[in-house]
């Protein structure tokens, strides 16, 4: 339970032989990888290969049937898990933004730090405004999600997650629902984050972006990691036939 053994030299996220099924359908068939603090890793792969499922298991939005997932040395799939502790460490951004439609951009960001972390309002507000600036959304603090474009909503969602001051950020195809022009502004935001040293695990279809920001790329197909490596090796010297076929379609 305790993570006293964990130090920053060890993987911040450690996934070992994870298995996950929905009924009879086995979606993850033994996935393993480690993420070091400050690393940016990208998970790519065909639709239905289990990328979202994997990422959701990391912050316990989904349970697993076998294997182990540790965040900062703490087992995530433990009945005694303190979910609040886990979610303070792990932030998540979704494809559909999922902002709270009845709250303004600023209120969306401030809600969890005030209600969950019980931090003083004035301090949270200061941080929230700084975060809005960071995601280049200053001036929009009083807009409701319904008044923002998809890309703007997604940047607010990123700021909302960052307001919890997580150690790891999960991004699940966060640009997939956006127009091509707005994709870029969101990617720039993530790039800034990565440059600041945030540990990021991204599921993405943006190959150019993956090549540029990722330290390591994992390719999943049919519930297993087929191939992985640093971007240059992965994109230019793919070994596996399935990877080559996938990259051939996309690039």
């Amino acid at each position: 339970m305790t993570n006293t053994q964990w130090d920053e030299g060890q993987p911040i996220v450690s996934i070992k032989n994870v298995r996950k099924s929905f009924g009879d359908l086995e979606v993850l068939k033994g996935v393993s990888f480690d993420v070091q603090k400050g690393e940016v890793i990208c998970i790519i792969g065909p639709s239905g290969s289990g990328k979202s499922t994997l990422i959701r298991c990391i912050n316990a939005l989904a349970d697993i049937q076998g294997g182990s997932i540790q965040v900062e040395g703490q087992e995530v799939h433990d009945d005694d898990l303190d979910k609040l502790e886990l979610r303070k460490k792990v932030g998540m951004v979704f494809q559909q933004y999922n902002l709270f439609p009845h709250k303004t951009a600023l209120q969306n960001i401030m809600m969890a730090p005030i209600k969950v972390l019980k931090q003083p309002k004035a301090e949270v507000e200061k941080r929230a405004l700084a975060l809005l600036k960071k995601v280049r959304m200053e001036g929009k603090e009083n807009s409701y999600p319904g008044e923002l474009s998809g890309g703007q909503q997604q940047r607010v969602a990123i700021a909302r997650s960052l307001a919890m001051q997580p150690d790891v950020m999960l991004f699940d195809e966060v640009t997939a629902a956006l127009d091509p022009e707005t994709v870029k502004e969101v990617l720039v935001t993530i790039k800034d984050l990565a440059a600041d040293g945030m540990t990021c695990i991204l599921v993405t279809h943006e190959m150019g972006f993956a090549r540029e920001v990722a330290d390591h790329i994992y390719f999943t197909d049919n519930g297993v990691i087929v191939e992985h490596g640093p971007p240059t090796t992965f994109f230019d010297h793919a070994q596996d036939e399935r990877t080559k076929a996938f990259l051939g379609q996309i690039l």
Binding site: R87, V90, F94, Q96, F100, P101, M111, K115, V116, Y144
Partner: protein, 254 residues
């Protein structure tokens, strides 16, 4: 001017004996009407509040991980939705009323049940309307996307926080039109409390026309207009609330 109104109705009753608006010129009857109106308004307000609270708690309990709790809520809804409110009222007052303890009245002689007929009317009507409110709020809750709840969960919010901060405020906005209808029905259903002698408006009006047969048409006319007025006030309030809850880009129109 003020004196001319009683004069007018006194003359009217003399000219047309079937239209005796006695309460508009006889202060004693006027007091009875006012008293009844006050009880109706109080009964309506209290029942509206309780039934909404029951609806919110019931809808929350329906999503409970405990199967036993879900069964209790389902049973409650079936019972109150599928039986006539009048029978519920009589059942509460005459059947359950026997089993509640009594206290000795101020005169030191008579025994008073701790739940009066007004108390039972409140309980019965609130649970009756509450059963519908549970269903109304549930429909609203189901309209909140799972992904929105997941976002709250991934931010570390508890089930209760997610419910009060995110799900309920959104569900409420979806539920308001149906809630509106049910509360209008509730206000009208308070007249059934006459069956257990709650001195609300209908009760007082019937008493008046029993005492003065000539007042029957007049009393009924006044009843219709009073309820149109009461329901109008409720609908006005609900629309104000709906507008106050309006959010840009989320359903509805301002």
């Amino acid at each position: 001017m003020l004196e001319t109104i009683p004069e007018f109705f006194r003359k009217l009753a003399e000219t047309y004996p079937k239209w005796n608006f006695i309460f508009f010129y006889d202060p004693v009857q006027w007091e009875r009407v006012l008293g009844g109106l006050l009880v109706t308004v109080q009964l309506s307000i209290v029942c509206v509040i309780f039934s909404v609270v029951i609806g919110i708690i019931g809808a929350w309990a329906q999503g409970s991980p405990s199967a036993a709790i879900r069964w209790i809520v389902a049973g409650y809804i079936q019972f109150f939705r599928n039986t006539p409110p009048m029978i519920q009222l009589l059942f509460f007052y005459f059947a359950l009323g026997q089993f509640t303890p009594t206290v000795t009245g101020a005169d030191g002689w008579t025994e008073q049940p701790i739940i009066s007929n007004v108390g039972w009317a409140i309980v019965s009507l609130s649970f009756f309307a509450g059963a519908f409110n549970v269903e109304i709020f549930r429909a609203g809750i189901e309209a909140v996307p799972d992904t929105t709840k997941e976002a709250a969960e991934s931010l570390g919010m508890t089930r209760l926080q997610t419910y009060t901060q995110v799900v309920l405020p959104l569900a409420l906005r979806v539920s308001l039109p149906s809630l509106n209808n049910n509360l209008v029905n509730l206000v009208k259903t308070t007249t059934q409390a006459i069956a257990i002698a709650v001195p609300e408006l209908l009760y007082e009006m019937v008493s008046i026309w029993n005492d003065y047969n000539s007042a029957q048409n007049a009393a009924m006319t006044v009843l219709f207009f009073t309820y149109i007025g009461l329901v109008g006030v409720l609908i006005f309030g609900m629309h104000r609330w709906e507008r106050a809850l309006f959010i840009p880009g989320f359903g509805g129109t301002k």
